[in-house]
């Protein structure tokens, strides 16, 4: 949910009046939420940070034309999702999803030290993360990859941000009924995959 809709409107108004420095406050307010969306879709911390940076660059350049039909977060989330889609397809085409690791797993025989490879960039967890936590996260990320793009996006907005159906429908430009059915389908598919892999 947008943290402070009234405050956002004032910020946007100031920005349009020429005080572009208020954009820094906008970034403070929404960096984390946009990052969570991007990371949820891309499963890569560095890609997610880049997408959010690019979101803000686009928003900075387009904010003067922002009409205010939706709240600012709806607009920002829409940009983030579009950029994340592009990044996702770019990565798949270029094969950049392959982890450049010095230490590819040499066996799958259950030796945790041998199997553990240094994961994709993960500044939020660092060396202290447990092997099990990393495994669960990896399985959820892999399961998400199996979902169609539209279901992934809908589920991230609902589960990560607890957004109401109406707001999701505005961000994704679809009907509320479509949001409902996507959530149901996504949950059903994800549930089956995670049960199969023992996470649930």
């Amino acid at each position: 949910m947008s943290l402070n809709k009234e405050g956002d409107r004032e910020l946007v108004a100031e920005f349009k009046n020429g005080n572009t420095k208020v954009f820094d406050e906008l970034m403070s307010r929404y960096s984390v939420r946009l990052y969570q969306t991007a990371y949820g879709l891309l499963s890569n911390h560095h890609d997610a940070e880049e997408v959010v940076q690019d979101t803000f660059v686009r928003a900075f350049r387009g904010l003067k034309q922002f009409r205010g039909d939706s709240n600012i977060e709806t607009w920002l989330q829409r940009i983030t999702i579009n950029l994340a889609r592009n990044k996702y397809h770019w990565n798949r085409r270029r094969g950049a999803g392959v982890n450049i690791s010095l230490f590819q797993a040499s066996s799958g025989l259950g030796d945790s030290e041998q199997e553990e490879e240094i994961p994709l960039p993960d500044k939020t967890l660092g060396p202290e993360r447990t092997v099990q936590g990393a495994e669960t996260e990896k399985k959820i990320a892999e399961s998400f990859e199996e979902l169609p793009e539209s279901l992934r996006e809908t589920m991230i907005l609902r589960h990560v941000h607890d957004m109401p159906y109406e707001e999701i429908s505005k961000i994704l430009k679809c009907k509320i009924g479509t949001v409902k059915s996507r959530l149901a389908r996504g949950r059903e598919m994800l549930k089956k995959v995670l049960k199969r892999s023992g996470v649930l």
């Binding site: 450049i100 960039p121 060396p127 949950r187």
Partner: protein
């Protein structure tokens, strides 16, 4: 709730339970049914577990939020100033074409000049052109110390460097590593980065003993002849490896959550390098805990 011909209550559909989970009660009596029906209760519980798992994955520890926000802002300010054309500035087409032609010509000239000075570099003779390139690279990677000068504070000890209040620049590239031994000049949009024959890095870690374990595993698994020495709260890594191994090592350290605070190539996000991947490099790195906080 639908009743079948025997007047028994039928279970709601998965979608109806899914919508109910989101707080939208569209089916009269669904809540009572779920109370009485173990199967539907299980379905609801599964959705709740899924919700918790997705939230946990997206959760960012509170202590990491300031750094995350700072990195995002740094990246925004950098991109906003350096790459206006990429983000839709209305340049006339002819200006863009001229700029592209100039960039290609510059790249060709640069590669030609660097080729002439390769021998000097491999003999480790001081080369002002190389220093100038290195200096320009330093400018692109803003590392902030407490005095804001971009220079690391040093305590003069040969074995340690004290660093305080550092905010490392944004990292992150999953681009493949390339060495220009096999790439045609002019095909790249950026200049290749020079890796010197001797590289000194300083890394900031969160926990020295965990970092020690991680580094030991890295060295063991990679087979590179690197040695570790821990002296109090500083770990020193030394050894000789080739340029490709060094690039991969730097990325692996970054992937492990270590923060590189030295403005010296190779950096984790760099991917296009001058020379050949097998050229040797003497590498020394110090891993320490950041003593200050922002």
């Amino acid at each position: 709730m639908k009743l079948n011909e025997n007047n028994l209550k039928q279970c709601p559909t998965f979608e109806e339970i899914s919508t109910y989970f989101d707080g939208i009660n569209e089916v009269p009596g669904i809540d009572l049914h779920i109370e009485e029906c173990a199967a539907c209760r299980k379905t609801l519980q599964d959705i709740a577990e899924l919700d918790a798992a997705i939230k946990a994955r997206a959760n960012i520890p509170q202590e990491d939020i300031p750094q995350l926000t700072a990195r995002i802002k740094d990246g925004f300010y950098r991109k906003n100033e350096l790459e206006p054309a990429k983000y839709g500035m209305p340049f006339p087409r002819v200006v863009l074409h001229l700029a592209a032609a100039l960039a290609i010509c510059s790249a060709v000239v640069y590669v030609a000049v660097q080729g002439l000075t390769d021998d000097m570099r491999s003999a480790n003779i001081a080369d002002p052109a190389q220093d100038a390139v290195a200096a320009s690279q330093i400018d692109k990677f803003p590392y902030y110390t407490s005095n804001g000068s971009g220079v690391l504070n040093s305590n003069g000890s040969e074995n340690s460097v004290e660093v305080e209040n550092l905010i490392p620049a944004n990292y992150g590239s999953s681009e493949p590593v390339m060495f220009n031994g096999g790439v045609q000049a002019g095909a790249q949009k950026i200049n290749p980065v020079i890796i010197r024959p001797k590289v000194d890095h300083v890394w900031v870690v969160k926990n020295i003993s965990k970092a020690d374990d991680t580094l030991k595993r890295m060295i063991k698994n990679s087979g590179t002849p690197l040695q570790l020495r821990q002296d109090g709260s500083v770990i020193t890594m030394q050894g000789r490896l080739n340029k490709l191994e060094l690039v991969k090592l730097v990325r692996a350290c970054s992937n492990a959550g270590f923060e590189l605070v030295s403005p010296v190539a190779p950096q984790p996000e760099q991917h296009y390098f001058k020379g050949n991947s097998g050229e040797p490099v003497n590498y020394q790195a110090q891993f320490l805990v950041n003593k200050g906080s922002r």
